[in-house]
Symmetry: C2
């Protein structure tokens, strides 16, 4: 995926938990495979286009990743991504794209504490508003230890890896790098990098919602203060939406007592001004459209269409990880209400739910899968008849199947409780062939852009969701067409390259003699 982002004249150090590649050993040979996920795809363009002037720091995930770390240590590993991905040997000439990585291997127990106790579920739940505070969370010595021995020490380790790469790049190029930190795993990194390398420009992108001060105060005082102070080591802290950016500033004011400027979207800390920005992440339309043309997608499409469409039958779709923040149970309850209120839909509408099992080692997640199965059985038992099954639950992680389903959906339900962005809402319109209607939660980041081209739902209100589904299923054809076309237009104009380019432009503006007003950050 070539980037359309403007070339930067400064080297770059990227940090994210998941990396651009991973290593395996197959029949004695080291193999390289490319990573997946929206964030990795989004950043790959940048890293690939910069070659040796970009180093991507990430966690070692496999046993073979760890072997690579043992061999290379702080030396960056260059990987040619073309036809047969491989590590580029010293002096070897290799075709673009090349991505340069520095993996970090973390002791398993510390990583479990860092990742499995603090980042998930604690930070994820707090930032998605998932705790009913009367009962959860119950913070014990386990969480305190996991924070100190896990999150804090793992963040130090990654920060030190970033610092080493910064110093190498500075020595090699004579320029101060740009450091692009990613997500809720690494809130403490920026402060440490700034202390060691005052010349760098640091940004941190938070890909999940940022809550208000009340919700942030669910974390113990020293934790919530340290995490905020860690992020304020940046020059720019970024989010997907204006609301999250505002909430972050309000937290700085209420929790740290700092002066904030809501008009300029900035906060003053010591002698520096930290900018708070928002850039809605997006997808890469050409690669999705290409996937939609492949044979596996076509096969899935034929099968799904035969099973659930034709003869005036309609398909309601959802595609989600089995995460409580996705609001899957309430979605099925809303469908239950729809079928009760509109018996004429019996036998004519199928709810196809393609769910990817997620984080099953976390009790909240495995419980949630149980709750999903339970409500599906209940709703199907109540309404089934004449061979028609109202809800079809498919637990599978298959992007070809998802794209086939996107193309056929008459309605896509995205009713998330809270969601940083929700890329499913941006993917469906690009490949849909039936003027499918997006039914979209007001609490998704995507709603700020796609709200005008969607039927809006309130995530807690199953009655209203049922009515919204009915509206979407019965919209006039021209209205469906207008809405889908509008959504496609927004996604095409604001694709993932636009997301990255806007960030790099704002970083470049920091260096400008007159720090101009940022172009697209109106105070609304």
């Amino acid at each position: 995926m070539p980037t359309k982002a403007p070339p930067t004249h400064r080297p770059v150090v990227l940090l994210s938990h998941r990396g651009p590649v991973s290593f395996r050993r197959v029949r004695g040979q080291r193999r390289v495979s490319r990573g997946g996920g929206g964030l990795v795809t989004a950043l790959m363009g940048l890293a690939g286009s910069l070659g040796d002037d970009a180093v991507w720091v990430c966690a070692a995930a496999t046993a073979e990743d760890r072997k690579v770390v043992e061999e290379y240590g702080d030396r960056p590993v260059r990987i040619a991504l073309a036809a047969a991905p491989h590590i580029v040997g010293e002096g070897e000439a290799a075709d673009d794209p090349i991505v340069t990585t520095r993996m970090v291997a973390v002791d398993k127990r510390r990583h479990d504490e860092f990742y499995g106790v603090i980042a998930n579920p604690l930070l994820w739940f707090v930032q998605h508003g998932l705790y009913g505070q009367a009962e959860q969370p119950i913070l014990t010595s386990r969480e305190h230890t996991a924070y100190t021995r896990g999150y804090l020490s793992v963040n130090r380790k990654f920060a030190d890896a970033v610092i080493a790469q910064v110093k190498q790049l500075t020595a090699a190029t004579g320029k101060d790098p740009i450091v692009l930190l990613q997500d809720y795993h690494f809130y403490l990194v920026a402060k440490r990098v700034r202390a060691a390398c005052p010349g760098v420009t640091i940004t941190h992108f938070v890909h999940i919602p940022w809550p208000g001060p009340n919700e942030w105060r669910v974390l113990p005082p020293e934790v919530r203060e340290q995490l905020l102070r860690g992020l304020l080591g940046c020059d720019i802290v970024s989010f997907h939406t204006r609301r999250f950016a505002r909430n972050f500033l309000l937290c700085c004011q209420e929790v740290l007592g700092l002066d904030i400027d809501l008009r300029a979207m900035a906060v003053d800390v010591e002698d520096r001004r930290v900018q708070v920005r928002y850039y809605p992440i997006s997808v890469d339309p050409p690669s999705l459209e290409q996937l939609a043309k492949t044979r596996p997608v076509a096969r899935h499409r034929s099968r799904l269409a035969a099973a659930y469409q034709g003869d005036d039958r309609q398909l309601v779709l959802r595609v989600d990880r089995t995460d409580p923040s996705k609001n899957i149970v309430r979605g099925f309850r809303a469908f239950d209400v729809l079928l009760t209120d509109h018996p004429e839909l019996h036998g004519r509408v199928t709810f196809y739910a393609l769910l990817q099992p997620s984080r099953q080692d976390v009790p909240e997640y495995s419980d949630y899968i149980g709750a999903i199965g339970s409500v599906v059985a209940e709703v199907n038992a109540r309404h089934t008849g004449d061979g028609w099954q109202p809800i079809v639950l498919q637990m599978e992680n298959d992007m070809s199947l998802a794209v086939a389903a996107y193309s056929l959906a008459d309605v896509l339900l995205v009713n998330a409780v809270n969601d940083g962005m929700n890329l499913v809402a941006k993917e469906m319109p690009l490949v849909n062939r039936r003027d499918g209607v997006l039914v979209l939660s007001e609490n998704t980041g995507a709603h700020e852009e796609l709200g005008p081209y969607a039927v809006t739902v309130h995530p807690f209100d199953v009655q209203q969701q049922a009515e919204a589904l009915y509206e979407a299923l019965t919209l006039p054809a021209e209205e469906r067409h207008r809405m889908l076309a509008g959504a496609v237009d927004v996604v095409r104009r604001h694709d993932v390259h636009h997301w990255l380019a806007a960030q790099l432009a704002d970083i470049a503006a920091l260096d400008a003699p007159e720090p101009g007003e940022p172009g697209e950050q109106p105070e609304g």
Copy 2:
């Protein structure tokens, strides 16, 4: 209770759900009894001192209340509160204090919807942050109907009762009354009263926490907007703390898109400016001290002291309604951790929990009582020995017993998840005789005033709560003495009369030619 509030030159209409008196029929005779609760006590001073120039509108709660409504309709009912409380007949001379009431009888089903579906639990839970949004609330047609047919129509009915009293008082005195509305039952009243009586000055005091925009958005769009617009019918909207007042303004901005001024603490709506203020409610020290001297209190005190004190034994106390917001379960879990970490305390510390059963018709509340019993049994089973029972659970609503326990407490635990004020934290210091230490949640309104004289706890962190209990139990005597004296001083200086006087002074200032800066509302 004579008020020390400055006399107002304008008549007053008060509105609260619970009234100053209630009626019963005993052996064929109508009897009057005075109402209880902090709010009623606080307002009684004002209403009693104004006599006929104040009318208190409230809900009819008993069958006999409804009979009084049938007899009197919109005519105010004058009640002499002295020795033998009774309704004052026309032309009868009666000694002060007199309170004048207008009760409103609401159809039972509508009242159940208004009170039992919307006000409790929905608004209470939303405003106390008690919903884990992944699972609760699930809003259905039941809630929609209850809102429209219950909350909305009951609010109209009470507003109309207030309007009738306003018109009568205006006609009788030639002056526009002040209207003082109370709490989360009546968010829609102010707007309707303003439309009918533009000359009045309206304030609404919200006695429970006000959450941030994210949490407020758990309510459906039309509900959350109507409730906010209802309150903005006021001249002044008031809360217990600066944080709640700020949250309210942020909701006006984020939910309604209005211009807010966080420095002046005001919001502009149409052609009016609405002030947002905070006044921490308090207690009446003399009446509490008087109660502490009574024989029932003395009897309870002897019994409790003999059972749980002496021989180096210490008493940890909590006094609360069995409300999930009070965080009773985590408090017992913290005590469990304390006993595990400090085996030397076995047999030497008793946790006496005096709990008043509350709202047992609401499933969340009856479940919570079960959870309390369960954790008490578990902790007692784990640590009991030699006749010592670690936790003594007393389910009872007895103010004399509470005051006796206050006087003996070595430590009072108030670890609420969220609490508008928490008067228990203000009552204990006034009558305690053992330099008892207040262990106080940072999420109580009281913490803004009493934090410097308490050991602060983080309500979600049971490890930290255990350490705070240990610290409180082992503080040096002079430090305990200093803290208790400081708390007493704060409560005496900011008593309930001060609370009321500050509000009336700000209302008077609205009429002043030059609207001066309010005295005690620093922007922090």
